[in-house]
Symmetry: C2
Subunit: 444 residues, 2 copies
């Protein structure tokens, strides 16, 4: 039986990152990656296949990233933790010294009657499946998207780029409400509406109707919407079939239980990414976050800690960004609503200014920032932003500040660089302003 | 005699920010700002007047930022620290409870013969003066810029946008060498050269020649360059005339000496911005940094600390960013060269990847990052980046990490958000990669 010092099951963000870091940090020269897919989709790129990128072939995660790693295209079907070996569907047996499970997730499938009809799709990370969605959209006029989270919203925006009639049906009162506070959700909805996307919130699809192929969806309120294609984007569930077979413990959110070093309940087996249970940076409690950036983060931690504990996973902050039309949105940590639900006594600071300076610089765009602080400790526990493309890195500053436990005054006196073509003015830098506004001395 | 609870001398970045924060933090409702200029130039915007913006009128710092602050356009000529009052050139006397000096800087004037000729300009923050430069450039074909620091480089790029023949003469072996390591300087020079800017490094202007008006410059090597206009951009010197008159102590770099709360040697007088002495975050020693972002930072600290010490200035990190052609450059903290000169034993990590993902996303651009760590503590002490517009905020993440004393492993496991249109891929995020590459476990 072939043996590898490090075997990784799964070839998406967590699997690839684990292989890269295992090789680079420890110099392991016989890493094996086992994955089902011939070609791996860039997970966050999937919605962009259908508009911006133009084809699934342009959204492939290159295998060159794996370097000298041995790649086995096969399905791992069982683990023998005592013998430290894995068997694949193709009958291969591979021994391991260390094993990292990065088996990812499967789209959550809601119990909606009719979801088995043709042209009803979930968001699977599978190139052939996504190509069949491409073909279906080629012949479609009207698309209904079930779920107005960031994946649903991105699909809506991209389908609009194809010139389709698009409707989002979202259960909650607003799109993006799990990621952003209402004010940002409303701004996103306005942008979607401006682009011609129809949004139905506070409602749900009770049935998908059609004869072999979908024709309509029926809402809980009885209304019917025409639909040539339905895309279900209501989240994902961890794929833990292999872990369950091996007797690994699972957590409250059905992910593989891991400790703060990424180790599972069985020696020499680690888990990272969507298949692993996540814990909140803020409360320590299990959370349902599933993001490629978290997957890569956990893979780095697991891979660094393979032979001895070195770095701790302090819990997921949860950092998200997206772009709708010309406006980017981002959030890190707790929204105001989530913070209040978690029992924090909070103080909010807001600021807005153009993202270049002076405002007459070409391409200047409003950048709005909202920061959420814990009242007593004055620590930053969340932040949201909307604006131009710099929002992606602005929320990463917010995340860095949260991770470092920075207080409002520390952020109000953050040292930053500014430039007319790249950032807000030094006297109107949004993060600093929002922090300073949150705690005026005169109120204390 | 009129008395104000807070008087601020100077109306540029530090002065305006001090007024805003004084009002907002403490609720002071009778702030007075004394400044010389009718109209204040956005300091960092000055080079952009001559190309991108098109006129000095588009680069005015709006007085609306001052809110209810009383504005006196006049020159403060003397302070009586005992009486806590100021006299202006116009004969006004104003009493103060707290005084913040934000008198800024003057362009450094090198002792080059001929610098008094017509069409030889320094970079003064004065609208009429800059308008006379605009007019001179309108009739010019050939411009020589003395100094290849970031102001010089920005002027070169903008003069090129006007279609002028532009030559930079820089004393050091490369442009931008005080801000960036050689590899980034070379990339900047390549971009400038591609845009048609002629660069002469390791040389200096020994004389400016002409008859009433400049015609040529002569280099130390004897070469002569035609010049219809000469722009001298070799840095600034603190303007401490008023402070000297009042008997305030000065530091080694000629700035007004301040403590870590922004207080000068005289009670109730603070100083902030270019006029104040700066100390290095890394060594505690005086440094020659003069940036609008540092000015605003010091103004916030002084204004917050007006009535009692609340926040400390931990020393200037020095964060800079600029854009040349389509490439942005940024740096925070110590360059590799500066770190070595300061006696640090360093380890460097580098990484590069596209700033969107997959690389087929429209507008994707290479983003290169270099991080400099202290070997023993593994703490980040500097970082540089080049790439698209996100560089401005990427170096602000670097600065935030430096300010928090983050180690390589902490940065290698930084929690960030990623998105196809906004950032690198989660498995190729440059800051994280560069930190992780700097310290492979197998080397320890």
């Amino acid at each position: 039986m072939k043996r590898s010092d490090l075997v990784i099951v799964g070839g998406s963000a967590a699997g690839v990152e684990a292989a890269i870091i295992g090789s680079r940090q420890h110099g392991i020269d016989n890493i094996t990656v086992i994955r089902r897919e011939q070609k791996v989709m860039v997970p966050c790129g999937i919605p962009y296949i259908f508009g911006t990128l133009g084809s699934a072939e342009k959204n492939i995660l290159s295998d060159t990233l794996l370097g000298d790693t041995e790649l086995i295209i096969d399905e791992a079907v069982s683990i023998d933790p005592k013998a430290q070996s894995i068997v694949t569907a193709g009958g291969k047996a591979i021994g391991y010294e260390k094993l990292i499970l990065a088996t990812g997730s499967q789209p959550a499938a809601p119990p909606i009657p009719g979801r088995e009809l043709d042209n009803v799709f979930t968001v699977r990370k599978d190139i052939e499946y996504l190509q069949s969605l491409e073909r279906a959209l080629d012949y479609a006029e009207t698309v209904v998207i079930i779920g107005g989270g960031f994946i649903g919203v991105e699909f809506a925006d991209e389908c609009k780029r194809r010139g389709l009639n698009v409707t989002i049906v979202e259960l909650l009162p607003h799109c993006l409400l799990l990621n952003c506070d209402e004010e940002f959700c409303i701004r996103a909805e306005e942008e979607l509406t401006k682009r011609g996307v129809k949004i139905i919130c506070g409602n749900k699809v009770s049935a998908i109707l059609g004869d072999h192929r979908v024709k309509e969806v029926e809402l809980a309120t009885g209304e019917r919407l025409k639909a040539d294609v339905v895309i279900i984007a209501i989240g994902v569930a961890p794929d833990t079939r292999l872990a369950q077979q091996a007797g690994l413990e699972a957590g409250d959110f059905k992910g593989i239980k891991v400790d703060l070093y990424g180790r599972t309940s069985v020696p020499n087996i680690f888990a990272a990414g969507d298949c692993a249970e996540k814990y909140s940076f803020f409360t320590g409690k299990p959370v349902g976050l599933r993001l490629a950036s978290i997957a890569a983060h956990e893979a780095r931690i697991a891979a660094i800690n393979l032979f001895e504990p070195r770095v701790e996973n302090r819990g997921a902050i949860g950092v998200f960004s997206t772009k709708i039309g010309d406006i980017a949105f981002g959030a890190a940590g707790l929204t105001q609503r989530a913070a209040m639900e978690a029992g924090f006594d909070i103080v909010v600071g807001r600021a807005g200014a153009v993202d270049k300076h002076p405002g007459s610089m070409p391409g200047a765009q409003q950048l709005q920032v909202k920061l959420v602080f814990d009242r007593m400790s004055r620590r930053l526990i969340g932040g949201e932003a909307s604006g131009g493309v710099s929002v992606g890195e602005v929320v990463n500053i917010v995340a860095t500040a949260i991770g470092n436990g920075m207080t409002a005054y520390q952020i109000a006196t953050l040292q930053i660089g500014t430039h007319p073509a790249l950032t807000a003015s030094p006297i109107a830098y949004q993060l600093i302003d929002a922090a300073e506004r949150a705690f005026p001395s005169r109120d204390w």
